[in-house]
Amino acid sequence: MHEPPTDWELAARARDGDVAAFAALVRRYEAPVRAFCHRMTGSAEDAEDLAQECFVRVYRYLHRLAPRARFSTAIFGMARNLALNHLRHERRRGRHAAEPLDGHFPAAPDSGRPDVSAGRAEAAAIIESGLSRLSPQHREAVMLRDIHGLDYGEIARIVRCRRGTVKSRLARAREQLRRHIIESGVEWP
């Protein structure tokens, strides 16, 4: 069985001019990066632009990246910086991005049972609205951990804080989400 190339193998080939290898990396990370940017900014349109810029910059940085950590750390680090810059610019222009998502997220997968599917969709909507109410610092921490599967050290490296800070931000974010679910009055997912 032929193993698919690792991220770093693709990155090395892309660095050597293999455009197809870079395209494969883009396809591998497009959806998670777009989802991350969407949840950070609240806008699907902005997220698409940010995701594109993220990959362009990653390409320009390829020669500087070394496989000391998972490739996803570099990708999400770049996406995170771009998203925060975007939020800052929006704030300076008087816009507040910590608003509910603009509704372009896909519905939860259909289980074939209407009651279960409806419950999942409702739970997903409640969680999304809870995420949108978190501060950017708490939102990014809980997304990187629970949605994108990064560990504490990787998150600390991305957001440039200590592991203990990651730990406290995650705890606070999860607690706020827990309260949000309870206050929403829905059945626990």
Partner: protein
């Protein structure tokens, strides 16, 4: 174990296998229904997050990225020998802002004023662990054309594409200054940053000595 704010962070970390004393927490959970219920709810929050559907791939996205990449300058190696000189320019700007233009610092706080095309912007830098130092520094860069331009030019010659590096550099300088407890001599903590830009150990040591000399008023080049 009371269910107070000191327990909640540990339960969250416990979920991730990051708790400091997992055995003690497990023992406590076995005899405390309230904490066990809280843990169960946190588990459900985590599971609900994990179950969020991912967006579908956008048709043509990779082609658009490749078109943008191919119209952008080709990747090139940043000459390592230029790195210290470039960073020194940035350090000079930051040092000037922090230690020369700044009003008398309040203990634990430093404020800088940045001249922008519109009006001076005053930004507080607070030496605390859990505040968004990077954000404030990036706000500095946003607000101050001079700071931003000098940092970016000094660092890279490539302009805004390296904005994150500029913010990262400033953050590490400030963190180092804080760690050293002496803003005038923070350079011994330069390792993490120099690692990021690809300096080897000898180059890092040279760089640190050079910065120390500069900091003592020695040669700048």
């Amino acid at each position: 174990m009371k269910q107070d704010r000191h327990v909640i962070p540990e339960l969250s970390a416990y979920l991730d296998g990051e708790a400091r004393a997992p055995g003690r927490i497990a023992e406590h959970l076995a005899q405390c229904p309230a904490c066990a219920r809280r843990l169960e709810e946190m588990l459900r929050v985590r599971d609900a997050l994990r179950a969020l559907p991912a967006p579908a791939p956008r048709p043509g996205f990779d082609a658009r990225v490749l078109a943008a990449v191919q119209s952008a300058p080709a990747p090139r190696r940043w000459p390592v020998l230029l790195a210290p000189a470039a960073a020194l320019a940035a350090v000079a700007v930051v040092a000037a802002l922090l230690f020369m233009q700044a009003p008398a610092p309040v203990p634990g706080r430093t404020a800088v004023t940045v001249d922008t095309p519109d009006e001076p912007v005053r930004v507080d830098l607070r030496w605390q662990d859990d505040i968004a130092v990077v954000e404030e520094l990036a706000a500095l860069a946003d607000a101050g054309a001079n700071l931003s331009d000098l940092l970016l030019e000094g660092l890279t010659e490539e302009g805004a594409a390296y904005e994150e590096e500029a913010a990262a550099l400033v953050f590490d300088l400030l963190a180092a200054a804080h760690a050293a407890g002496d803003p005038a001599a923070p350079w011994d903590a330069f390792g993490p940053w120099s690692d990021d830009v690809g300096l080897d150990a000898a180059e890092t040591a040279d760089f640190a000595r050079w910065l120390e000399a500069w900091d003592r008023g020695g040669e700048r080049s």
